[in-house]
């Protein structure tokens, strides 16, 4: 137990227990009644000790767990200290009867959607949450699917989508933009904004044609919002009413799956709310039925623009649970492929964003390179997009002869394309005007929102999992972490150019000293045998058969592990019960917390700029909704 936790233990005595975990200590609050009171205090104390970032908030249902736990549910708070590069897990047990915990939304903005998701999936309520609605499942859904007693195939069709008007009115009210006099026509009779998702009224009016008439006082307040331009007096009569506008999910700029409802004053967004879950496809529940290696194809489909990074992230987590580290050659292969994937991810982000802004040419330049990289992936893994290349303890295949040279060639072409695009856009006045000073998020706020990766770095925080918690031998490579200065859309967009340059540097170093040797560890209980053995001798075949059918037996335990994916910290929190299948598989997607912030950061800006902001966040729906 380190000093910090000793202090915590000393202060809270028997209310908390500190247990050793697979990845450091775990602070446990076992008694729901006392822990309900103590939870906020313990969190406060941990925060004071430097664990100032809420990395993830995970629900677990122990109903079928082989070892009896103090209570049926637990909520695990993963807290990070970015300065000292430490993490701690705080686990609060919650009883099956009336599962309630106090909300931490007043401490971290990130908690808002994380708690909503936990409520949606497990039915654990968070007292004091301002708007505890369902997040991933639709508003007509009954029950909580990640509970162990919810049958996985119990499907619930939806008759009509949520209008979101109740949420938008709530938001307008929070900002003081709805006065009681005009509130009545906005919310239909019977529609009630409630704390708990299930009781929230679905039958709000359709938003297309109507908005509320704004009174002089409201206009006053709108004009005072930051970002709203000062206008001459005679324009004032133009603000007759707020218009509600629905954007997405079937909209070219929201990529088919993201939705926002905005209240507009002219072209300026005065309030906005977002909705996700349109691509929720049950990753966490489905993968509970798969063996550990069988989860890998599902991870491909999280961030499908850089699929192999997800593979490696998951494999790394499982390897850590097994207490093994893969071979040096595999580590180097993973680094090369991951960095190439990062480049592709950024290329797609930049290309797609520029298309949304009306600059199509760049897309062709960037996508040609992407196709060439896909040809390499195709040859190496047999698939272009969903590669399933990682394996626990190794990778599916070794590099083919000449693979390294192919990669270097593509890298050169990529650099040329990137330079061309940079020349096309970096002095383009229209583009710059649409990016600079828009939707600025300061470092403090970015941390509170749980942002990671390029978004956090754009706000000036030098946090990168590759440096903070090095893995796969990243400590051997010489590279820098680019950071932004302001944290506006411009920074979030252009930082990707710098990151690609660093990735190219890493790839060159890794290829130059690519170690020889096997790609799989020689551990029969964990890593697949070489293909030669599988096909040519009975032991190899048996070994392969057992690992595939029964799965790699991961010892019982819990672990959170993170990986620097293209969009930020991709984390997996896995609960193992000793069998070949995960008991609980939680994916911490960087995009979720990025999109949670989107509705708030576009307020006060023009509608058209919101599209650029969204592009700069690079939300990938597969990973957002899982």
């Amino acid at each position: 137990m380190n000093e910090t936790l000793q202090q915590i233990k000393g202060r809270f005595q028997e209310a908390v227990a500190v247990e050793p975990g697979l990845d450091g200590d775990v602070v446990v609050l076992a008694d729901p009644r006392s822990s309900r009171g103590a939870l906020l205090e313990v969190i406060g104390a941990l925060r004071d000790q430097g664990f100032a970032v809420l990395t993830d908030l995970v629900g677990v249902d122990y109903l079928q767990y082989p070892v009896r736990q103090p209570q049926r549910f637990a909520v695990v708070y993963i807290l990070s200290d970015l300065k000292r590069r430490q993490r701690v897990r705080l686990k609060a047990y919650v009883g099956a009867q009336d599962p309630v915990l106090p909300s931490v939304t007043h401490i971290w903005k990130a908690a808002s959607w994380l708690e909503r998701e936990c409520w949606d999936q497990f039915g654990i309520r968070f007292e004091g949450h301002p708007n505890l609605k369902r997040l991933l499942n639709h508003h007509e859904f009954v029950g909580h699917p990640l509970r162990k007693d919810y049958p996985i195939r119990s499907r619930q069709p939806l008759s009509e989508n949520d209008s979101l008007v109740d949420e938008l009115v709530l938001r307008l009210r929070q900002k003081g933009l709805v006065l009681p006099a005009i509130e009545a026509p906005l919310v239909s009779p019977g529609a009630r904004v409630s704390d708990h998702g299930e009781e929230a009224a679905p039958g709000s009016p359709s938003f297309g044609a109507r908005g509320g008439a704004a009174s002089a006082a409201v206009i006053e307040r709108i004009s005072a919002l930051p970002g709203v331009l000062a206008e001459p007096e005679f324009y004032r009569d133009l603000h007759t009413e707020l218009m509600f506008l629905n954007i997405g999910p079937s909209h070219p700029a929201t990529h088919g799956t993201l939705r926002a409802l905005v209240a507009l004053d002219g072209e300026t967004i005065v309030a906005a709310v977002g909705e996700i879950g349109y691509l929720h496809r049950g990753f966490e529940k489905s993968t509970e039925l798969q063996t550990y290696n069988g989860v890998i194809p599902y991870t491909d489909r999280l961030n499908y623009v850089s699929a192999m990074m997800n593979n490696f992230a998951y494999c790394k987590t499982i390897e850590k649970m097994l207490g093994i580290e893969t071979t040096e050659r595999t580590k180097a292969i993973r680094v090369v492929i991951a960095e190439l994937s990062r480049i592709i991810d950024h290329l797609v982000c930049i290309g797609a964003n520029l298309v949304d802004l009306g600059a199509l040419t760049n897309y062709w330049y960037l996508f040609n390179v992407r196709e060439k990289a896909y040809d390499i992936f195709d040859r190496l893994t047999g698939a272009r997009l969903t590669n399933s290349y990682g394996r626990v303890g190794g990778v599916a295949r070794d590099f083919y002869p000449g693979c390294g040279d192919d990669i270097l060639r593509v890298l050169k072409e990529a650099e040329k394309a990137i330079a061309d695009v940079e020349q096309l856009i970096s002095h383009n006045r229209i583009l710059l005007d649409r990016l600079t000073g828009i939707s600025t998020v300061h470092a403090e706020e970015a941390l509170s929102r749980g942002w990671t990766g390029p978004l956090l770095r754009a706000s000036g925080v030098e946090y990168d999992v590759r440096k903070a918690f090095p893995y796969d031998g990243y400590e051997q490579y010489d590279f820098e972490i680019p950071t932004g200065t302001v944290g506006d859309t411009y920074d979030r967009f252009f930082i990707r150019f710098y990151e690609m340059a660093q990735s190219a540097r890493i790839i060159r170093q890794a290829l130059a000293k690519m170690p020889a040797g096997p790609i799989f560890l020689d551990i029969k209980t964990a890593a697949l045998p070489p293909k030669d053995d599988t096909y040519n001798n009975i032991e190899g075949l048996m070994n392969h058969f057992k690992l595939i059918f029964e799965g790699v037996k991961v010892p019982a335990g819990e672990l959170y592990d993170s990986y620097e994916a293209a969009n930020g910290e991709l984390g997996f929190f896995v609960v193992a019960d000793g069998s070949g299948k995960p008991y609980r598989n939680r994916c911490r997607p960087p995009s979720l917390l990025a999109y949670a912030a989107f509705p708030e950061i576009i307020e006060g800006h023009m509608l058209a700029d919101a599209i650029a902001t969204l592009g700069g966040l690079n939300i990938i729906a597969g990973e957002l909704d899982r």
Partner: protein
């Protein structure tokens, strides 16, 4: 009538239907309903290497009212289903539907509480493309198949009846069965 022989090669006579169908076939305007990974391969299809404009289908329209081919690319969840249905209804006749990838065709490996097990529960489908995701070549083949077998059967006077089907929810909920397990 042999009237055209009077004019030499300068005039061709044909049926209005043939001209319309010929034009329709070679100027497909797809509406990409891309929700997931499959849509990323669609981006590959429309960019330079695979270049779908070679087959007359590159004018992508994001408005259903301006398109005649609905390309459903990606997993459709129950939350998404009413939207897909609405987009389909907004498209003018004649219209065709291409279902890309196993998710859209059958739910794929997402056999769970939130995923529609095949979009043909919601809208009629003309061509299914297998794969997870299908390669762009697969999509090209599907477009050629549509052009060869589906598009171009219309006549000006006798439009085929628009397909009428029940909205998702009422169909799935019939009999009060919440659990629609398919095997």
């Amino acid at each position: 009538m042999g009237l055209e022989t009077l004019f030499g090669n300068s005039i061709v006579t044909t049926k209005i239907d043939s001209v319309l169908n010929w034009a329709r076939k070679n100027s497909i305007m797809p509406m990409p309903f891309g929700t997931a990974c499959c849509a990323i391969e669609f981006m590959g299809l429309v960019s330079s290497q695979y270049d779908v404009s070679r087959f007359g289908a590159e004018i992508v329209r994001f408005s259903p009212r301006q398109s005649d081919l609905l390309m459903v690319m990606g997993t459709i969840s129950y939350k998404q289903a009413p939207i897909l249905r609405r987009i389909y209804d907004q498209m003018p006749e004649p219209k065709w539907v291409l279902s890309m990838g196993v998710c859209a065709c059958s739910g794929g490996f997402y056999d769970n509480y939130c995923t529609v097990q095949g979009i043909d529960d919601i809208i009629p489908v003309d061509v299914y493309v297998a794969g997870c995701p299908p390669r762009p070549e697969g999509l090209i083949e599907a477009i050629l198949k549509l052009q060869g077998e589906r598009i171009g059967k219309e006549t000006v006077l006798g439009r085929p009846e628009p397909v009428v089907s029940l909205p998702v929810a009422s169909r799935d909920r019939e009999g009060g069965a919440q659990e629609t397990v398919r095997h």
